[in-house]
């Protein structure tokens, strides 16, 4: 069995399932945010149950349009706030406790290896980096899960991607996953589990692993999974407040496809507008002048990402006419960045520090683009209009290229600025 099948099996009474079957699963965490929770709350109330299935297993994070950008978004948040109070939701994150959900849950030890997690947010697949089966669903699914503790899932096939070899300088998890998506396309893993392994993955820290599984959805995948190991255990054991199980795939597990990549061939990647599959190596990028650089998001807003960026920006200035927005993903990341002197480096360089929020990633607020403007972002999507005007552009990279580009004003390799 694959790791995905083992986790599904441990969460269902529909034993003996095969790929393609629809099964009912018991879930460990049901997650929603300020955009998706209001509809989920309506769905929950339609189920006419008196209480949520488990007040400790419902997680609500007001991270998308907060601090509220307008009256309508404030009204949405109030619906969630009132619900959290009425139903005594333990894990409700509001105000100064808000972090970007997919950075926050691993950090708080709420998402654990072996868990089955559903979230009304497509990047819920991030928790696969911990060895969980985690998948994005809609608000109706989430509302029903808050009521019943269950969801329906079609048992997916798995694909395996093995990364071998040493990582090149300035290459991180973001570059590996962009390379993979560029290779198989935005529907290359449609309906399937994308299992990632190999010596190069074992050498990655958890932050870089979470970056990779975060973008499994950008290849159409139902889940991205990296088998938990000593790195996962070291990260998890100090944070977990309940038991967890570290599964791994059997040697004879069945995959619809197995593919190997040699990291020696992977240079820092840039995804061109308007799809994450439009990738090129940095050496193939011509002169692309930028109006804005965003470093943050559930993909690359953790402290490890900010350290990479600060290392390049230290002693340098943001290019004239360019806005560089740094968004620490959680309050703890912001505190660590402050304590480590990173915030000073960013401010001295002329960057803007935003509170933790999804903000500009989805064109919400805190850095929306005008017609004809061009941004480079460490986020996960560069669809038409994603960061603002339908005639604006977004390029995706990891934090190293983003920081270098903020300094030069055009898409640049860190080699051009780093000492």
């Amino acid at each position: 069995m694959t790791i995905a099948e083992k986790i599904l099996k441990s969460h269902t009474s529909d034993k003996g399932f095969k790929q393609g079957d629809v099964i009912r699963v018991d879930i460990d965490i049901a997650l929603a945010n300020d955009i998706t929770a209001p509809i989920a709350i309506d769905a929950f109330k339609s189920c006419s149950k008196k209480d949520v299935f488990d007040k400790d297993k419902v997680v609500l994070v007001l991270d998308h349009f907060t601090p509220n950008k307008d009256i309508a978004s404030a009204t949405q948040c109030k619906i969630v706030r009132d619900f959290a109070k009425e139903y005594h939701i333990t894990n409700f994150f509001d105000g100064g406790e808000v972090g970007i959900e997919h950075a926050l849950l691993p950090e708080e030890g709420l998402a654990l290896p072996g868990d089955l997690i559903i979230g009304a947010d497509s990047h819920t697949c991030t928790y696969g980096g911990l060895g969980a089966f985690a998948t994005g669903v809609g608000s109706t699914d989430l509302g029903v899960a808050m009521s019943t503790g269950q969801a329906w899932l079609k048992v997916p096939e798995s694909m395996k991607f093995i990364f071998r070899g040493e990582l090149n300088r300035w290459v991180g998890g973001k570059d590996l996953i962009l390379y993979l998506i560029g290779n198989i396309g935005v529907d290359g893993a449609l309906y399937k589990v994308l299992e990632i392994e190999g010596p190069a993955i074992s050498s990655l820290d958890l932050s870089n692993r979470l970056t990779m599984t975060n973008m499994a959805i950008e290849a159409g995948a139902k889940a991205g999974i990296i088998a938990p190991d000593v790195v996962t255990d070291a990260y998890t054991k100090t944070r977990a407040k309940r038991n967890y199980t570290m599964h791994k795939s059997d040697p004879d597990a069945l995959y619809s496809m197995v593919k190997e990549y040699n990291c020696a061939n992977i240079e820092p990647q840039v995804a061109y507008p308007h799809l994450p599959e439009n990738t090129r190596g940095i050496s193939e990028v011509g002169e692309i002048i930028l109006d804005q650089v965003v470093i943050g998001s559930c993909t690359n807003g953790r402290i490890e990402d900010l350290r990479v960026a600060a290392g390049i920006m230290k002693g340098n200035k943001v290019a004239g006419g360019l806005r560089c927005i740094i968004i620490p993903a959680t309050p703890k990341v912001l505190k660590a960045a402050e304590a480590g002197g990173l915030i000073k480096i960013f401010l001295d360089a002329g960057a803007i520090i935003s509170p933790p929020t999804c903000g500009p990633c989805l064109g919400g607020h805190m850095g929306v683009l005008a017609e004809g403007e061009r941004a480079l972002a460490t986020t996960n999507r560069n669809f038409t209009g994603r960061m603002g005007h339908p005639k604006s552009e977004v390029y995706l990279t990891g934090p190293a290229i983003a920081a270098a580009s903020a300094v030069t004003g055009k898409i640049s390799s860190p080699k051009e600025v780093a000492v």
């Binding site: 309508a72 109706t140 029903v144 159409g220 209009g385």
Partner: protein
């Protein structure tokens, strides 16, 4: 159930930001969302769509976000069903949960033209092009998912059967 309407054609990888841009997600009111449905793919869509009309698209329709606002906007626009080569998975399950009929068919996706009049037998998955006379059979769905559509979505399904 037989659905009938004009075909509105779209290409591959129509994402949820094209179906309903995030700048309108500060509300979940269907009457507001429908005004902006498909806006970044076709700004004239909301003024031209009529009740019963059918979206016909290429591969990976609905990729991107989990936002249920996307099928809500499509449904509120009056669209009776969506036909595509393939659907992105969250949009796919959201449609079943909300009782929005969707069909996967390689041939229907490629051969139907903008403005063709279509008739769709939901239970049988049969798509008829009344202009050309062509008939297409959509790919089969698991029994549970057919049940969801027949019941009118996940909530109605639970009310009727007492469980998922």
């Amino acid at each position: 159930m037989i659905l009938k309407g004009r075909a509105f054609k779209f290409g591959d990888d129509i994402d949820t930001d094209a179906i309903i841009p995030a700048r309108y997600l500060n509300t979940s009111d269907p009457s507001v969302l429908k005004e902006h449905c498909m806006e970044d793919a076709d700004p004239t869509f909301s003024s031209r769509i009529a009740k019963g009309d059918i979206i016909v698209a290429g591969k990976n329709f609905g990729c991107g976000s989990s936002r249920e606002h996307a099928p809500i906007a499509i449904k509120a626009s009056g669209v009776s069903c969506v036909i595509a080569l393939t659907f992105a998975r969250i949009f796919f399950r959201n449609s079943f949960n909300m009782g929005l009929p969707i069909f996967e068919s390689d041939e229907a996706s490629s051969k139907i033209k903008q403005g063709d009049i279509l008739e769709v037998d939901v239970a049988e998955g049969i798509i008829k092009n009344l202009v050309t006379g062509n008939t297409f059979k959509a790919r089969g769905m698991p029994a549970f998912m057919q049940e969801l559509i027949a019941d009118g979505g996940l909530i109605a399904h639970i009310k009727k059967r007492g469980k998922i």
